[in-house]
Symmetry: C2
Subunit: 560 residues, 2 copies
């Protein structure tokens, strides 16, 4: 069987896994770009299903716990909406309605018989990035070679979600290798941005981004090694958390570059609200994942940290705003999002200072060199099993021009160590740099968190998400980072500026490509960047930022 035949067979199986009655007879035409309101208006969802899928996660969990809504009802509603989202954006990989509804029914039975919930996520459907193994289901991760390999065990996180009462119900699309900031592979094809289908949903957790933006799931789990949770969260207008390494169990997933122990991929939550991120993190950490995954750090969830006890109780925070990393100047909508955030924080009584970038270019370079040390061989070893080419571009041409990897041949272990040593030193320098801000904040503390762009642009056209430095450097530093949606590209507010003095060709290229019409309707977000393993405090500070932004927006309609 050729790899193309394997793909064709897999696609047929995927199609057959979709219940006929949930497919839409008439879909918006391809040139209908913004399909974000379509699920609400398409008529497939009942009024209750619309209410369910529009609910915030706290409300959902409370109604599930009280039995006001059954898990079968809630799971069905989200499943139907997920299938609608899939037909609009091509966001799903594995669809297993029967298995999910069986688990949902178990939840309902348990509640009925005992009057108790199974756990803090009782009855809640949860979507999973394709790489997260569910027993008996494929995790192709966009590799044709892995079609037909059915997981023998649940990933540790899936077992935990199970114990917490959650209902894993779909898996979502990724780029082949996961090492792209967009979502395209030879098996499932491309995931589009629901706000403008000519734009990318981002990646590598791009299936999650599109699905969640269309409210086809209340909570999704992505992974992030260089921005893979935050880029799609930003591009699709949702919330996403990249925890530090060692907080959320990763064992039992498939992955790229396994054994690369230096800049590690992490799992984290994506949702339509901050409370979605918090309830996942608290539930998982409270369940002591360090007894289930050898790489998880034994560190209990701290409500004290969440209440910002080490940040002056959150009363007078000092944020540093990174306007520009001195490599690529962000486009106007991104600068506007930062300005909105600044204004909102000042209005809420907090302090805001400028955050000067510190060796961001060097930080960025080390990540390329560390991953480049062996990635080419890693990808080829898997791809060659099926004969599928390693994809060399996320552009519309797909893999028609494989070309040669610039990382071909890799480097020696000793050379890798030299780069990793540089990385370690940069992390140390960055810590000292951050600590030194204590002298200037006036709060008695160093800057509490950094507000940073997620990318120097809003979601770009397919194939053009080429600058991932604004997310990637925080992975190198292993800082906790959370994305908050702020606005959408607006051609009146985000007019093109006069050229600045360009840092580089990349910077000029980014300037040249900007045109508000290209990015029409694309969401715009910021990242809240905290310290390593500071998940509780970053969520706490993000709530302050989000509340401040919402307060400003409600006063200034033009920003919406």
């Amino acid at each position: 069987m050729t790899w193309q035949e394997a793909v064709s067979e897999k696609r047929k199986r995927q199609l057959a896994s979709i219940p006929q009655e949930w497919t839409l007879a008439s879909l918006p035409s391809k040139d209908h770009l913004d399909i974000s309101v379509f699920p609400d208006s398409c008529g497939l969802l009942t009024p209750t299903e619309l209410e369910i899928t529009r609910s915030e996660i706290d409300g959902l969990l409370s109604k599930l716990a009280k039995g006001d809504w059954t898990s079968v009802q809630v799971t069905t509603a989200f499943y139907k909406r997920a299938i609608i989202a899939h037909q609009l954006t091509n966001c799903l990989t594995e669809i297993f309605v029967e298995k999910a509804l069986a688990k949902a029914a178990e939840c309902d039975d348990y509640l009925k018989q005992t009057g108790k919930v199974l756990g803090p996520l009782h009855g809640l459907p949860v979507s999973l990035k394709d790489q997260i193994n569910i027993k008996g289901i494929e995790s192709t991760m966009g590799y044709v070679s892995w079609i037909g390999t059915f997981a023998e065990r649940n990933a540790v996180l899936v077992d935990m979600l199970d114990s917490l009462g959650a209902v894993p119900f779909v898996k979502t699309n990724v780029p082949q290798t996961l090492m792209w900031g967009e979502t395209f592979n030879n098996i499932f094809g491309r995931t589009c941005n629901p706000h403008n289908r000519s734009l990318t949903s981002g990646g590598s957790s791009g299936g999650e981004g599109a699905l969640l933006a269309l409210r086809g799931s209340p909570l999704g789990i992505g992974s992030d090694i260089g921005g893979s949770i935050r880029i799609p969260s930003s591009f699709c207008g949702i919330y996403g958390l990249r925890p530090s390494h060692g907080r959320v169990p990763y064992a039992g997933c498939v992955n790229s570059m396994e054994g690369q122990d230096s800049i590690m991929s992490v799992l984290g939550p994506m949702s339509n609200s901050l409370s979605g991120l918090k309830c996942f993190m608290k539930a998982v950490v409270d369940a002591k994942p360090w007894y289930k995954d050898a790489l998880v750090i034994p560190k209990a969830w701290s409500e004290e940290d969440y209440r910002l006890v080490n940040h002056g109780g959150g009363k007078l925070l000092c944020f540093g705003i990174l306007w520009d990393d001195r490599c690529v100047v962000p486009n106007p909508p991104i600068i506007r999002a930062l300005e909105m955030t600044k204004k909102a924080l000042l209005a809420a009584g907090h302090k805001v200072v400028d955050w000067e970038p510190f060796k961001h270019d060097a930080l960025s370079r080390t990540s390329y060199e560390i991953w480049g040390a062996g990635c080419d061989e890693d990808y080829r070893v898997v791809a060659q099993i099926s004969g599928e080419p390693v994809i060399s571009t996320m552009g519309p041409d797909g893999n028609s021009e494989p070309g040669e990897s610039k990382h071909k041949g890799g480097i020696s272990a000793y050379k890798l160590w030299q780069v990793q040593k540089q990385k370690r030193d940069l992390r140390q320098e960055y810590l000292e740099y951050w600590q030194a801000t204590q002298k200037t904040t006036g709060t008695g503390r160093p800057v509490d968190a950094i507000i940073s762009p997620v990318a120097p642009y809003a979601a770009p056209p397919h194939g053009f998400n080429r600058i991932t430095d604004y997310t990637r450097i925080w992975n190198v530093l292993d800082y906790t980072t959370l994305v908050i949606p702020v606005s959408k590209v607006d051609r009146h507010l985000d007019v093109k500026k006069l050229p600045h003095k360009f840092y580089s060709d990349r910077d000029k290229d980014n300037y040249d490509r900007y045109d508000p019409e290209t990015f029409r309707n694309a969401p715009v977000a910021v990242q809240i960047v905290g310290r390593t393993l500071e998940e509780e405090a970053v969520i706490g500070m993000a709530e302050i930022v989000d509340t401040a932004l919402k307060a400003t927006k409600s006063q200034t309609a033009s920003y919406l």
Copy 2:
């Protein structure tokens, strides 16, 4: 200048740094092997100095805090004793009396003027393994190439010790490269075991081991990547803690194989008592080292964990005893130490079960492969600066036969990742293996801690510490591990056994080499092995084991 000339010049400087009045006119002859009581009887120390250097750390700190003893007095006493120890075992590298006494005087002044202590380690002299940088002092780490390189900055830990009120006062000997379980290099030569100078002090923190065993320091800081704290602690009869990675700040030290991010070296305390280990760990962690070293995990010191709240309050613990790793059977004194520990724990009302080794050979192999990936180039790059050969044996011939490293050329980064992936999987399997013991302990918990040999022998003759698996596998697993001295080799109690069925040539060789006379007077210890980042609980459990052993010993004089 040849490397030999550089050595000669450095040795002259070392000699000149020793105050004349602290040198001994008459030293025991070379065939006087056990010199452990010599410092007490040599006449150089005054009665008060003897009292000071024989004190337990809690008593010392309390007298220093109250001003009963000044820091100058205490530092002088330990310095004199350290110089005696050095003349007997060759344990020191850097000697800086003036600098240390100046800091001690500062402590005294502060206390006098304010009535307060500088910190929890107020006035306490602390010895440091050679690799720990002190501004203005060399850290040759046994490399001739690094003679004449004076540290520009303190290591983070030295700054912290300074703030905590401690007085760094000597640096201690190591093997060239640090990657040996003995202590010999071309600059300072060999450190001997104070209990029997024909035996090794162990390594790589062997200078610390010999110094502390002779009470030439109340607290020493060593490092451990494969046993380098635990081997000398065991061989010299002291207590030593290998914390998990990320608990004690390492930034700013020199090291081997920097950038090797997979199985990392850690710093940890060595002392004559468990309270020495605890007071160091608590003082350092309470000072929030994660704001000073980017690799330290933000995890507060937990008295609750120390009180064993997660281990049933320490009332009925279940220990697993590893009698044999199925690779090399320990010699009779080691088995006796395990038997003594078992008996003591049973007498104290705890449970003891056998701990079956799980893939210890595979764990051991991964560490060799990971370090072997680039170590040869790492060593050569440094050694070739001076032209000094890379030492190829710790035996009496030293580096007379350099030979060729079996790791020559190293491996590719991609191949390294494959081994690191195996390591990760083994860690996960070991966690699951350990968790599964919950079914059989009868306590409702998995085994609380493992009691393991530190090596399959007591301190062997120089050049024969060749089996480091019993310590190294716990580094691969990143488990918290603590060494407790138990007994000494006794030719009546530790008679050679009849041959067993050998696992391998290594096993046979270990059997063949055993003869109680060879190991005369060598200390014997056990390791308490807990989970990753479980420092508090491991210290808490070690206190229970230590107390139980002391109770048994006081009843059974023959064991002493």
